[in-house]
């Protein structure tokens, strides 16, 4: 299923985030994959997804400049593709 910023997503239950100087490291205990989240405000967005009905609303609430939305959407879509994010 294609990633849709008008839907609600949340972090998979078996994913842990570790803060790093570049953002965060994400690890999935289920599929044992590792992902790099390479922006601090992207980490903020990911952590807040569960409180929003849409990804769009999480972007807006974190104050992400609209010009950066496409890049953020791409990063989140890739996390969803490897099961790090799931549809809420």
């Amino acid at each position: 299923m294609a990633f849709d910023i008008d839907r609600a997503y949340r972090l998979h239950d078996r994913v842990a985030l570790r803060p790093e100087p570049f953002g965060a490291l994400a690890y999935h205990y289920g599929n044992r994959r590792l992902n790099f989240v390479r922006a601090h405000d992207l980490v903020t967005v990911i952590e807040s997804l569960a409180q929003h009905d849409t990804v769009r609303s999480a972007f807006a609430s974190a104050g992400i400049d609209a010009r950066r939305w496409p890049a953020f959407e791409k990063a989140l879509a890739s996390l969803a593709a490897s099961d790090f994010l799931v549809v809420a």
């Binding site: 570790r18 205990y29 790099f36």
Partner: protein
């Protein structure tokens, strides 16, 4: 900043932490990185090992690669595995398979957090036992049979690439397929007893090229980022393609010493001990050695080579134990820059050696071949 630059500057905790639980081993492989054989009387006690697990859980080290020696020889091995799992630290352990009987395999199959890696170094008994000792191939296969019978799922078959087994790549892949296992190939390093067997066993240049092509065709084969020196041949191999020592990777040895990577068990690369004040976290974040390794490194003699960005000068441990300066080329540089230096170093001073835990010295090959 690039991902590679982020990694080189160091992380809050390692991504890949190897923990060798004991120097005791029932085998005496001729390429053993840690020259294992006899247990060290100062190895961490059960409660000290539990304290390390508590600490790496706090640091969010997501999983630990347990090895040795043969880790399952420790009487508290299964307890420590359970302790990791209960503390949200995933376990991947390497074994020669000698203790993986039907009951152990059934137990292992119950956990989602435990991954197992069985080592073989040949696709047949003759090639394997030459390096790992008589009967070790049959033992490893028996362990694989037990795991398959217990429906463990996808375990890993781990092979160190040597001059004698690179011709067997397709057979290793077929063996892994037969067991529904994942194949993992790693680089032969001149560390530990590997320093003595390196000249006979390390792959030839044509073999390295063949391995590179084979790996490009099979991105699903795991390599632990071992072969980044081959990336100088063209397209980079999958992975970070950099030396992670002290930056992304480190090793805790059985007595709690922390080294920059699993291939440099030598005083020059010892950053501290988990028993020191501040424990592992303090060593990882504040040791002088690791701070130095996270500084930008000079390309040295390789600076003028057009392929430096691809191979980054290769493996630090491989250089160190063949007597090549750390800012020199990899001894197995695919452009041939290392060869001369290796022979020069071999005729000059004897390259450095690490501590030896072998049961009886010297370890002999089963026969020349």
């Amino acid at each position: 900043m690039s991902l590679s630059a982020d990694m080189k500057a160091g992380l809050q905790a390692p991504i890949c932490l190897t923990w060798e639980l004991t120097y005791a081993c029932n085998l005496q492989c001729v390429h053993c990185l840690s020259s294992s054989g006899r247990r060290d009387p100062h190895e961490l006690t059960t409660s000290e090992a539990e304290a390390v697990i508590d600490e790496i859980q706090r640091m969010k080290v997501f999983y630990v690669n347990i090895g040795g020696g043969e880790p399952t020889i420790r009487p508290d091995f299964w307890h420590l595995v359970d302790y990791c799992v209960d503390h949200n630290v995933g376990v991947k352990f390497s074994t020669n398979g000698s203790r993986i009987d039907a009951a152990a395999a059934r137990e292992l199959a119950l956990s989602d957090y435990v991954d197992i890696q069985i080592s073989i170094d040949g696709s047949d008994a003759a090639t394997n036992d030459h390096v790992r000792g008589e009967g070790s191939f049959a033992t490893a296969l028996r362990a694989m049979d037990h795991l398959a019978d217990a429906d463990f799922g996808e375990f890993k078959i781990s092979v160190v690439m040597t001059r004698h087994n690179i011709g067997q790549l397709d057979r290793f892949a077929a063996l892994a397929d037969r067991y529904g296992a994942q194949l993992r190939l790693t680089r032969f390093r001149p560390s530990g007893r590997g320093a003595d067997s390196w000249h006979e066993l390390h792959p030839s240049d044509p073999q390295q090229r063949r391995l590179y092509q084979w790996l490009l065709d099979r991105p699903d084969v795991l390599t632990g980022d071992s072969f980044f020196h081959l990336s100088a041949l063209g397209d980079p191999l999958p992975g970070l393609n950099l030396c992670g020592a002290g930056r992304v990777v480190c090793l805790i040895d059985p007595v709690g010493d922390v080294y920059a990577c699993p291939f440099v068990l030598h005083d020059d690369f010892r950053a501290g001990n988990v028993r020191d004040t501040g424990g592992f976290e303090n060593v990882w974040r504040h040791s002088e050695l690791f701070a130095e390794m996270r500084e930008p490194q000079s390309a040295g003699a390789c600076g003028s080579c057009g392929q430096f960005d691809a191979c980054q000068g290769g493996c630090m441990a491989a250089k160190f134990f063949t007597g090549i300066p750390l800012d020199g080329p990899d001894p197995e540089c695919v452009l041939g820059h290392g060869e001369e230096l290796v022979s020069a170093a071999a005729t000059a001073a004897k390259p450095p050696a690490g501590a030896d835990h072998s049961r009886s010295a010297p370890v002999k090959f089963l026969g020349r071949r």
